[in-house]
């Protein structure tokens, strides 16, 4: 059993314990909830869905707030998932660090864009 506390603690890049495991599941549930809400609104819309009906799904204030929270949840969810992939398959520390920095920049840029789109609706 390796020592995972004190000064001899082995640093692997992940956090120890429950936090990310639980966060991955809570954020996933939130994304699934928003998916279900959007699907329900699409299914119960009568007639063909054009621009007005599609945009009105996201234009109510509660839907904007929930979509905003879900974008943040999605970014956190993808960060945990991609970090797991890099940790499993990329062993050289420098390359892994570069890929993790790329992941963070990519996700923050995407989050900014998505929130901008949402907030001018």
């Amino acid at each position: 059993m390796s020592v995972n506390f004190g000064s001899k603690r082995i640093v692997v890049g992940a956090h120890y314990g429950l936090r990310d495991w639980l966060a991955q599941r809570v954020t996933a549930a939130l994304i699934a909830l928003l998916t279900a809400l959007i699907l329900v609104q699409i299914i119960f819309t009568s007639g063909e869905i054009g621009y007005d009906k599609w945009a009105s799904i996201f234009s109510s204030q509660w839907m904007k707030a929930l979509t905003f929270a879900t974008i943040i949840a999605l970014i956190y969810h993808v960060w945990v998932g991609m970090r797991d992939i890099w940790m499993d398959y990329v062993k050289p520390t420098g390359t892994r660090l570069l890929l993790q920095i790329f992941t963070i920049v990519w996700l923050l840029a995407c989050a900014g864009w998505a929130i901008q789109v949402l907030w001018r609706l």
Binding site: Y51, G81, M82
Partner: protein, 143 residues
């Protein structure tokens, strides 16, 4: 225990040409690796997904640009490529979602038997591929 172990094939010094074509991943293994593949695929295409969101909700003019991207194409990319990429995203999202719900169900009910692992994995594969085919047929205008 030792007798059971002796009957199983052992994989040591794996030869990529001899052992890998005959090695069959169990259904739960396929669901697991495809969960990763679909997640990484959606991560890489995130800007495209947000572009779809942007053009479809921003204005009536951008909505027509969104529709024509599928029907005619956008820039140098023809419409059927946009449809194919979108079909890939539809599969990735469905697989990731259903496989994720399987995880949540297993966590909540402690359903961790070998039989349930196999049957639920087959359920995930059939449902995600089936729904992808149904939605893909709609996307390419078959009905």
């Amino acid at each position: 225990m030792s007798e059971l172990r002796n009957n199983k094939p052992e994989f040591r010094n794996i030869n990529a040409f001899v052992d890998l074509p005959t090695y069959r991943l169990p259904p739960a293994g396929w669901v697991s690796i495809l969960h990763r593949v679909s997640g990484a695929f959606m991560f890489l295409l995130l800007p495209f997904i947000i572009w779809l969101f942007d053009t479809s909700v921003s204005s009536e003019i951008s909505f027509y640009k969104f529709v024509s991207a599928f029907n005619i194409g956008i820039g140098f990319i023809p419409g059927f490529i946009i449809k194919l990429i979108s079909l890939g995203l539809i599969w990735a999202f469905l697989h990731h979602l259903i496989a994720g719900l399987r995880h949540l169900y297993m966590d909540a009910t402690h359903s961790v038997t070998k039989e349930f692992g196999r049957s639920s994995a087959l359920f995930v594969l059939f449902l995600s591929i089936g729904l992808t085919l149904v939605l893909g047929a709609k996307l390419f205008g078959l009905y």
